[in-house]
């Protein structure tokens, strides 16, 4: 029935599309200059009340295809007063804009240009979009920023570089896929993540909830995060260095060099993170022989050094007759990570560590009007040598004093010494074909193949059986997008085909990993489909709804483990979900300079074979397992308010309720957990932030930005809440974290200095059971942006 309904809707849409083909197109072009006559590059040109828009090029010129009609066109650029013109558009029309430097606020006319992020929020999909540019001067970690958005929760195990679990609308972190400019982030290496990506390269982040556009070529079940990097056309150099508490250092370098004669562009990027993470653990147990008891004490972490490096160079050309973009990229990433604890802090390590490195070579090619007018082809081929090593060779038992006794077994697994090597070569090819019939109608075909090997061997553990497993997946997505009624309605329909090919050769720990059940080669084929719609009645009120039947193929990490704290589970099935989003949003301008945006979303996730990380409490290990079914419903709301360019406020709250749908136990009897809330996950949380920017403080073209944020998570149980006396049950306590910062910028952002303080009130914070996060910390960052 669901399939028939979808087909029916699809045909309706196609019908609407053919009707709309008859509409005529017009071209709006022109130039945007400053009052002194210089071209303004990268100025935003938006068509008010629609999602149409573009940017000016280096010469200040712009060009935009639109259906014929009357529009209000708004040109804006930072540091200038925005300008708005009413244009009746037929055929070709040129409209120039002269922007004045912003010295006096407009009194009679208020102009509101929407950022790319805002436009995304107002699209058909349920999406959070975060502008990184405004906060890049003070930001040290993307996870921090993402964690403050509605419906998203990042659970970190410790300090800088610690493992984390990101969930969107209650879906496990690993059902969320990560992309960088539409390409899976894993091409950079398995250790590259939101936690160590250089923030300076990022323009904005898109977070898709439940329904993921087909062009991302994703098998995400709970959503996707797409990191969109800055696209400048000029030479620039962006450098920053930050120093913080717990011996933390971060340095980023990002530049672009354009060779005018050849048109060759070189973009080097380097990001380095280092931290000793020697923050104080409060109330950890330390043995006091005089009283023969473990006494709660404060001790510094002593084996948690983290180092990451990402170095990348892109070389290519843009705007050539044969290619709009052609780039070859080489990157190297490295992560060295000491391990301080097991999955709870009572297990202290002093020698174990995990190291990883990856080399990547990729090439991408993009061409508009490829083969036929209106067709854009964008393809990417990538190969990654991904390598990791888990070192667990010390026969020692450590305590929080940093002392140890010589032991008779290793630290992590309690077995014999282990030097476990993982080689995970990844080949990826993505090809995206986008055909735009006219500004209202477009189809998109995306194909992604991802082949990941898992070659494992151990240098010293004679009991370890080497293996070489292969996971290969093909994902094809076809989508059709339409904009109707002068953009008051937007619809998207898509289908996806997922093919998973496994070749499992490992057999060790078969009783734990299930490798005896899934041996040899197997191929599975799965279909997904979905649709999204947005109807804008008027600016303060719009509705959107989206649906996807999604499939997520297990990750290599879930299937094959991580060699240290996660067991393999080769018998994992893909998880499937029917995801529904329904939202209402709108923008209101209550007075001059005031903008209020609100959004309320309800969602439901009907998950089957849900892949969930289960702590094997007894072993200090984790394993991903299929939970037969979980249903999640939730509600989240966000309000944003801004006043001119000075004040931005945001507050959100999210509630999500995941209920176990497994009716029967393994022995066929009714399960006590049926319809119980799934434990060990945050279910009520919120965030708020306030930023105020003073302009021209002490010096012209300077700014002083004050910011503060607050995060709250309601406490939750580690295990099923209904069973056992409440007072005996383990809990993850509530979190109240307040952060604050101040940033001073000179010469329109060329020189920036920021100081921030996280967890100002030094609260004890846990995201995971008995895994303490850092207390109060400070971070000082200096950034130079030269162009």
């Amino acid at each position: 029935m669901k399939h028939l309904t979808f087909v029916f809707i699809f045909f309706l849409a196609v019908f609407g599309f053919s009707d709309a083909l008859a509409q005529g197109l017009a071209i709006l072009s022109g130039k945007i200059t400053s009052s002194d006559g210089h071209p303004v590059a990268q100025a935003s040109l938006a068509i008010e009340g629609t999602s149409y828009g573009t940017y000016s090029n280096d010469n200040g010129s712009y060009r935009l295809e639109l259906p014929e009609g009357t529009y209000t066109v708004v040109a804006s650029f930072i540091g200038y007063e925005s300008q708005k013109k009413s244009v009746r558009l037929t055929g070709k029309k040129m409209v120039d804009f002269i922007l004045k430097e912003e010295t006096v606020a407009l009194k009679d006319v208020e102009v509101y240009a929407k950022s790319k992020s805002q436009k995304l929020r107002e699209g058909a999909f349920a999406v959070n979009a975060l502008d990184v540019k405004p906060v890049v001067n003070s930001l040290s970690n993307l996870n921090e920023l993402v964690n403050r958005t509605s419906g998203v929760k990042v659970r970190q195990e410790g300090g800088v570089g610690s493992d984390y679990d990101l969930s969107i609308n209650g879906m496990s972190g690993n059902s969320v896929r990560y992309f960088i400019d539409g390409v899976p982030l894993e091409t950079k290496g398995s250790e590259v993540s939101l936690a160590n990506l250089p923030v300076n390269i990022i323009d904005h982040i898109e977070m898709y909830k439940g329904v993921v556009p087909a062009y991302l070529g994703s098998d995400a079940l709970g959503g996707a995060i797409n990191i969109v990097t800055k696209k400048e056309k000029k030479n620039y150099l962006d450098m920053s260095y930050g120093i913080g508490s717990f011996h933390t250092h971060k340095a980023d370098l990002n530049a672009q060099i354009v060779f005018p004669k050849s048109g060759v562009i070189v973009r080097p990027t380097v990001g380095v993170n280092y931290s000793k993470n020697d923050y104080t653990m409060k109330g950890v147990e330390v043995w006091d022989e005089s009283v023969r008891k473990y006494v709660p004490s404060n001790r510094k972490r002593f084996h948690d050094d983290y180092f990451s490096l990402l170095a990348q160079v892109e070389v290519g050309v843009t705007g050539k007759p044969w290619a709009d973009d052609f780039f070859v990229t080489a990157s190297y990433s490295k992560v060295d990570k000491e391990l301080q604890t097991g999955s709870i802090q009572t297990k202290v390590y002093g020698m174990a560590e995990r190291n990883g490195s990856a080399y990547n070579v990729s090439a991408q090619y993009r061409k508009k009007d490829f083969l036929l007018k209106g067709l854009q082809m964008h393809s990417m081929l990538s190969y990654t040598w991904d390598y990791s090593l888990t070192v667990d060779t010390a026969y020692r038992v450590y305590d929080w004093n940093g002392d140890y006794i010589e032991s008779s077994r290793n630290e992590i697994t309690g077995r014999e010494r282990s030097l476990r090597h993982y080689k995970r070569p990844t080949t990826m090819f993505r090809s995206n074909w986008d055909y735009r019939f006219n500004p209202q109608h477009a189809v998109n075909l995306n194909y992604l193949v991802n082949r990941t090997g898992n070659d494992r061997y151990d240098e010293v553990d004679s009991s370890f059986e080497p293996s070489n497993d292969v996971v290969c997946k093909h994902i094809v997505g076809l989508s059709y997008h339409q904009q109707l009624w002068q953009d008051k309605m937007e619809n998207t329909f898509f289908v996806k085909d997922y093919v998973n090919h496994l070749n499992i050769r490992q057999t060790d720990l078969y009783w734990q990993t299930g490798s005896d059940k899934v041996k040899g080669e197997s191929t599975g084929n799965y279909w997904g489909y979905g649709a999204g719609t947005r109807v804008s009645f008027w600016e303060p009120l719009a509705l959107k709804a989206s649906f996807e039947h999604s499939v997520r193929l297990p990750l290599a990490r879930e299937l094959l483990g991580n060699g240290s704290t996660i067991y393999a589970n080769t018998a994992l099935n893909p998880e499937k979900s029917d995801n529904v989003n329904l939202g209402v949003f709108g923008t209101w301008h209550p007075g001059a300079g005031h903008v209020l945006y609100y959004e309320v979303n309800g969602f439901m996730r009907f998950v089957d074979d849900y892949i969930q990380a289960v702590v094997a409490e007894k072993e200090g290990m984790m394993q991903y397992q299929n939970v037969p079914a979980v249903h999640i419903k939730g509600l989240e709301g966000e309000v944003r308010y801004s006043w001119k360019r000075n004040l931005q406020c945001m507050a959100n709250v999210s509630w999500q309720d995941a209920r176990d749908q497994r009716k029967y136990k393994e022995d066929g009897k009714l399960s006590a957990t049926y319809l119980n809330r799934v434990p060990n996950r945050p279910w009520l949380f919120g965030a708020a932030e306030v930023n105020y920017t003073f302009h021209d403080v002490c010096r012209k073209n300077s700014s002083l930005r004050l910011e503060t944020s607050y995060q709250w998570v309601h406490w939750y149980y580690l295990t099923w809440e209904a069973y056992g006396a409440k007072e005996s049950k383990a809990q993850i306590p509530a979190q109240h974290v307040v952060n604050a910062g101040v940033t001073y910028s000179l010469e329109n952002g060329r020189y920036n200095l920021s100081v921030s303080c996280d967890n100002i009130f030094d609260r004890l914070v846990y995201d995971h059971y008995k895994l303490q996060k850092p207390g109060r910390s400070f971070f000082l960052k200096f950034r130079v942006f030269l162009n």
Binding site: I344, V348, S463, E619, G620, E666, G668, T673, A722, Y723
Partner: protein, 423 residues
């Protein structure tokens, strides 16, 4: 004179009672228990029922075990449920050493020995002791009580090429002594099995350690011989005898000693009985072997559980020459959670056995291979079952041989263990 007599008599009575109580409390340990002639302990003890939510608590699965303490398991009791009651066992696991009021364990993710008790809906840590020389990991050790105050813990080391041991004073948990057993690897073996089975025969004052070797580490390692029996002098931990047995391939449990399941028991005379098995084709054929008091090897012509239809999982002495066994009918078994396990009353002299029956009907097969749901107390065996149709207790009277139904246990959980604990 009169005044002097009262305290003396009181002391005498207390001593007799204490002696009886200690002998009973060792029910999950290495001494005979529950036989006839013991004093009535009603009101002096309670039952701890271990139930896991979501998945079995045994063999490292599940972290959501709830312990419910009840005074009685008779049929007149209300249904036993853990909804909103009972104690969450985390971070401890169902693989425990119990004696008297207390539980003992090497807890998961901790590098220590812990002594705790469960009272008033919470776990109270009584005493802890960090490792000093030898270190152990959760579940992977075996134990024996040398006396009421001395707990001996033993395991293979990380390389599994040596057997390490630690003696603890169970009162204050201080380490009395530690060392490495002078036990060589069996011929052709590269490693010992993880823990083996350790037991103390107090009638002869010797430790018996059952173990075997494997040709290589890991699950692919193959036993190099039938299991061996080492007889150890508990005072100096010297190995006095070390023999390969000729009767069976492996002990019933080799992974975590008797921390959960009891596979060693003794009769009144001090004869030792061990549940063991030999793989014959696909069949794991169980057997019950005996080491006669004073001997160091198994009595060659004895098998207390002949013609087994599967593995013998647990054995507990009932008194009067009878034992309670929990075994698997392999032909009815299709995995860890199928209903294929059953209780029998075994005559240890003749080897004759009968399925546990109530009102003339055999009690159905249970599921739960890694469970220990029976205890012996006051001449009765309290036997927990998890059949396809019910989860409840049966009470077997050793003297009369009559079985009656006891308390019902709520469905929806995994009923993993039943233990008797001193109040």
């Amino acid at each position: 004179m009169k005044k002097m007599k009262v305290p003396f008599m009181s002391f005498l009575k207390t001593s007799v009672f204490a002696t009886a109580l200690f002998s009973f409390v060792a029910c999950s340990n290495d001494t005979p228990n529950g036989g006839s002639g013991e004093p009535d302990l009603t009101g002096k003890v309670h039952f701890d029922i271990f139930m896991s939510v979501g998945e079995h608590g045994g063999m490292g699965g599940g972290e959501n075990t709830i312990v419910k303490s009840v005074e009685s398991l008779t049929a007149d009791q209300p249904m036993i449920d853990i909804q909103g009651s009972g104690v969450e066992l985390n971070p401890y696991t169902i693989e425990l050493i119990s004696k008297g009021k207390y539980y003992y364990q090497v807890p998961s993710k901790q590098t220590r020995f812990t002594k705790f008790q469960i009272v008033n809906n919470k776990i109270e840590i009584v005493q802890e002791q960090p490792f000093v020389v030898n270190s152990y990991t959760e579940r992977k050790y075996t134990h024996a009580w040398l006396d009421d105050k001395t707990l001996l813990v033993m395991a293979a080391n990380g390389d599994a090429d040596k057997i390490i041991w630690t003696k603890l004073n169970a009162e204050d948990m201080s380490i009395l002594s530690e060392g490495t057993l002078n036990l060589p690897l069996p011929a052709g073996a590269a490693v010992f099995t993880t823990t083996g089975i350790l037991t103390y025969n107090e009638k002869v004052g010797k430790l018996f350690y059952f173990y075997y070797g494997k040709d290589k580490a890991g699950r692919k390692g193959v036993a190099t011989s039938n299991f061996l029996t080492a007889v150890i002098n508990p005072s100096d931990m010297k190995v006095e005898s070390n023999k390969v047995n000729a009767l069976a391939a492996e002990m019933a449990g080799s992974s975590y000693g008797q921390l959960l399941q009891e596979c060693v028991t003794y009769d009144e005379e001090g004869n030792l009985y061990l549940a063991a098995f030999t793989k014959k084709g696909e069949l794991e054929e169980g057997c019950l072997l005996r080491i006669n008091k004073g001997e160091s090897d198994f009595y060659a012509s004895y098998n207390g559980y002949p013609n087994a239809d599967g593995k013998l999982c647990t054995v507990q002495y009932l008194g009067n020459g009878k034992a309670l066994t929990y075994a698997r009918n392999q032909s009815a078994d299709a995995g860890r959670n199928t209903y294929s396990l059953y209780y029998s009353i075994v005559d240890l002299k003749t080897g004759k056995r009968s399925r546990l029956a109530c009102d003339g009907k055999e009690v159905g097969y249970s599921s739960g291979r890694f469970s220990q749901r029976s205890v012996v107390l006051n001449g009765k065996a309290y036997i927990g079952v998890n059949t396809e149709t019910s989860t409840c207790i049966y009470i077997y009277d050793v003297a009369t041989g009559v079985t009656e139904k006891g308390a019902d246990i709520a469905q929806g959980y995994y009923f993993d263990a039943l233990r008797v604990v001193e109040n």
